[in-house]
């Protein structure tokens, strides 16, 4: 059922770290409108699910949009074996509200794992808006840390943190010390829920407004299903149309984690079946 004007051809693929990939896709309508903070809904094939992926780049002249993903479930593994020239079933967007980019003064941008890719889009925009930007990149271990060089080139100052201390600081505790010595006007955190929770807890006593990006389960991604509901300041919000960015000091992170894991058994089943069956398109490089 693909329509005219909508080919969603993959024009480039890039491995950012092991199992962490980026796709650049032809989607002129989306490229024309995309802003930092927004996301797209991607469908790989006719029987595919709709998954939300945060936009991490766009080229308005070329008419392309990029998104990055961690190969963790069936759909992302399937995306991971696609090559330049392949087409996706559908890409819808840009969805969600754009980030509020303005001159805050001094901004702290903390990114973890695959969300480093979209975070750097914000870093770039924050710099262009005249901010001084300190970036913090986090990863589980040094081998999966991504985009360090890009981050270094874009930001005024860069810190690295890993869960095991194999590179840079171990964990994010160093931020507490940093905040005692340096004053920040605004903080952006994008990454795993646990990381965003930690950052929000660290910035709270210092009174630094902290914006986090939720990546809940979604089906339609435009306000219809409500599976992305998040509690913010005691109120029910939809990640897709009210977010995806929320005040990190108001978000119920515990609920967010639980809701992200609602379909874990089914996701595992899909993933295992896919691995046994292999790639349907016959282009599996593995």
């Amino acid at each position: 059922m693909r329509r005219r004007n909508e080919t969603y051809k993959i024009v480039a693929t890039k491995e950012l770290a092991p199992k962490e990939k980026l796709l650049e896709v032809e989607a002129p309508d989306i490229a024309a409108k995309a802003q930092p903070g927004q996301f797209v809904i991607v469908i790989v094939d006719e029987k595919g699910e709709r998954i939300p992926l945060t936009i991490c780049g766009y080229d308005r002249a070329k008419g392309t949009v990029s998104f990055a993903f961690h190969e963790v479930g069936k759909t992302t593994k399937e995306l991971g074996v696609l090559c330049e020239g392949d087409c996706l079933e559908n890409v819808t967007g840009p969805l969600g509200n754009a980030s509020e980019i303005k001159n805050y003064g001094k901004v702290l941008c903390v990114g973890g794992s695959i969300m480093i890719a979209p975070l750097l889009l914000q870093v770039k925009a924050m710099k262009e808006a005249g901010n001084s930007v300190t970036a913090v990149l986090g990863a589980r271990i040094k081998d999966v840390l991504m985009m360090e060089d890009e981050a270094k080139a874009m930001s005024d100052k860069l810190y690295i943190a890993t869960d095991d201390g194999s590179k840079g600081y171990q964990g994010l505790d160093f931020l507490k010390e940093l905040l005692k010595t340096e004053k920040f006007d605004h903080c952006v955190a994008m990454g795993p829920v646990v990381m965003m929770k930690t950052v929000s807890e660290i910035t709270k006593p210092f009174g630094i407004p902290t914006i986090i990006t939720v990546t809940p389960l979604m089906v339609d991604g435009m306000g219809m299903c409500g599976v992305c509901r998040v509690t913010v300041g005691g109120k029910m919000k939809f990640g897709c149309i009210d977010g995806p960015e929320f005040d990190g000091h108001q978000v119920d992170f515990e609920e967010l984690v639980k809701r992200q894991r609602m379909f874990l058994p089914e996701e595992r089943l899909s993933s295992v079946l896919w691995e046994i069956g292999g790639c349907k398109c016959g282009r599996n490089k593995a």
Partner: protein
């Protein structure tokens, strides 16, 4: 004058011809269509019950003015192609309407035969002709000369498809923008396969595309393009038929526990994403053994009947009594035949979860009925001290939908109802913005497929007049 012969009365059978259906015990195990449609003999037999009134009462009940006696006459005479052409001149989606319209409160309620027995089954006959056409191929109608005017239609659901079909026939160029990846709106994401097979929707949409509509899917107006952008970039008029897609929740504790779905989420997973075929299709659905559906409308019935087909025991919880159930009588009957248990006069107070964050029970309260409220139905009043607990592992909340707010938020000057979120229109579907019209659930709040189609039709007429008078 004793010899005067009594006038020969036409012999009309009091009972309408039953439509064959799948048996409850069989159908509850599959998603195939429940009602199987008339055979040719059955259709002719039923058509012969029509009196061909000189002043037909039925047509007045049809929001899209289908020429009912005329198309029934075609069936009597075996002129099926002619019959379907007559319907399609007024109604672009007859295979859909023949299946999901509430004929019992529209055309059939006025049927003269209904005064002596059961009314003529107009819907079943409409379905017969539409299905006949699907097997024998389309006939495309004549189109007016191109007007050179271009109209954007936002949303490829019942209202949008109807407006698009009419506008094309009037000679305008039409581009449809559909936010989801498949066209059909509520017909594909909401109404289940066993009531309206998706192949039928695909077919009706294909007809409108063959008429000449340019359909763009995965294009959410308000995000991908805004209405002011479309109006600035080459469209002379625009119709908004974006539906009522925002689910309502109850605002009670525990609503964000796992296992609690909005009716929309549940139906989108099952219908649009085909999760009843998981893992062949990728979208999962976790359904427990004891499903509670909250609500009493057609959407609630669709959720309940789908859940039963997925192997669950289903209880419908409704805060009023059986008499006030807003669902179609036929749907309630079908659902109960399939094993639905109803618990009337009760509403949930809170949901209780297990240690993993999944719902395991709900605390409810019994109700009694008081005086009629604004909707004309008797208002449910909680009975003090009547709290009780109900065990459940899956809850589906089917208490209504409101319009998605994105279009209103991104279109300056478009007036909307402050609380309900519906776009404000006049009797022709005209909004507060010049050249912008709206119809269907986005203007009325959640209603029926056919009323949305009626508004699409009215708006198409008004748009045509607007375009032809514009300098």
């Amino acid at each position: 004058m004793a010899e005067t012969k009594p006038k020969p009365k036409p012999k009309i059978k009091k009972e309408s011809v039953e439509m064959p259906k799948q048996k409850p015990k069989e159908r509850v195990k599959n998603f195939n269509e429940v009602a199987l449609g008339y055979t040719e003999e059955q259709a002719i037999e039923e058509a012969n019950r029509c009196l061909q009134c000189i002043k037909p009462q039925c047509v007045g009940g049809c929001p899209v003015e289908v020429p009912i006696p005329e198309f029934i006459k075609c069936i009597k005479e075996g002129k099926y192609a002619e019959g379907i052409a007559m319907i399609k001149a007024k109604n672009a989606l007859p295979a859909v309407c023949g299946r999901v319209c509430p004929q019992e409160e529209q055309c059939q309620v006025n049927c003269v035969v209904g005064r002596i027995g059961e009314p003529v089954s107009i819907g079943r006959l409409e379905r017969y002709l539409a299905d006949w056409e699907r097997e024998h191929g389309f006939q495309l109608p004549e189109k007016a000369k191109p007007t050179g005017k271009k109209v954007a239609v936002v949303g490829a659901g019942p209202a949008g498809l109807t407006a698009a079909a009419d506008l094309i026939k009037l000679g305008h160029e039409v581009v449809m923008f559909e936010a989801l990846h498949l066209p059909g709106g509520v017909l594909v994401y909401g109404i289940p396969e066993f009531r309206l097979p998706k192949v039928i929707v695909r077919n009706e949409v294909a007809y409108i595309e063959k008429l000449g509509a340019d359909l763009r899917v995965g294009n959410m107006v308000g995000r991908t393009h805004t209405i002011p952008e479309l109006m600035k970039n080459g469209f002379d008029a625009l119709f908004i038929g974006s539906g009522a897609g925002l689910p309502q929740f109850m605002g009670i504790p525990g609503e964000n526990l796992g296992g609690i779905y909005s009716a929309n989420e549940f139906l989108i997973r099952v219908n649009l994403m085909k999760s009843y075929k998981f893992p062949e299709y990728d979208t999962p659905l976790r359904l427990g053994k004891h499903v509670v559906v909250i609500g009493g409308g057609n959407v609630a019935m669709d959720c309940a009947r789908s859940s039963m087909r997925l192997g669950a025991n289903v209880c419908l919880l409704y805060r009023r009594s059986r008499e006030e159930l807003p669902a179609r009588h036929e749907e309630i009957e079908n659902a109960e035949e399939e094993g639905l248990v109803c618990r009337f006069l009760a509403a949930p107070l809170k949901f209780i979860g297990d240690e993993k964050g999944w719902v395991k029970a709900m605390e409810c309260q019994a109700m009694e009925l008081g005086q009629p409220d604004a909707s004309g139905r008797r208002r449910p009043i909680p009975i003090k001290g009547s709290e009780f607990t109900m065990e459940t592992d899956t809850v589906i909340i089917a208490i209504g939908q409101t319009p998605n707010p994105i279009i209103q938020r991104t279109t300056e000057g478009l007036e909307a109802h402050p609380r309900r979120g519906t776009i404000i229109v006049d009797e022709n579907g005209k909004t507060s913005l010049e050249g912008v019209y709206a119809g269907g659930d986005v203007a009325t709040g959640a209603a029926t497929v056919i009323s949305a189609m009626g508004m699409g039709k009215t708006a198409a007429k008004a748009i045509h007049e607007y375009l032809m008078n514009k300098k």
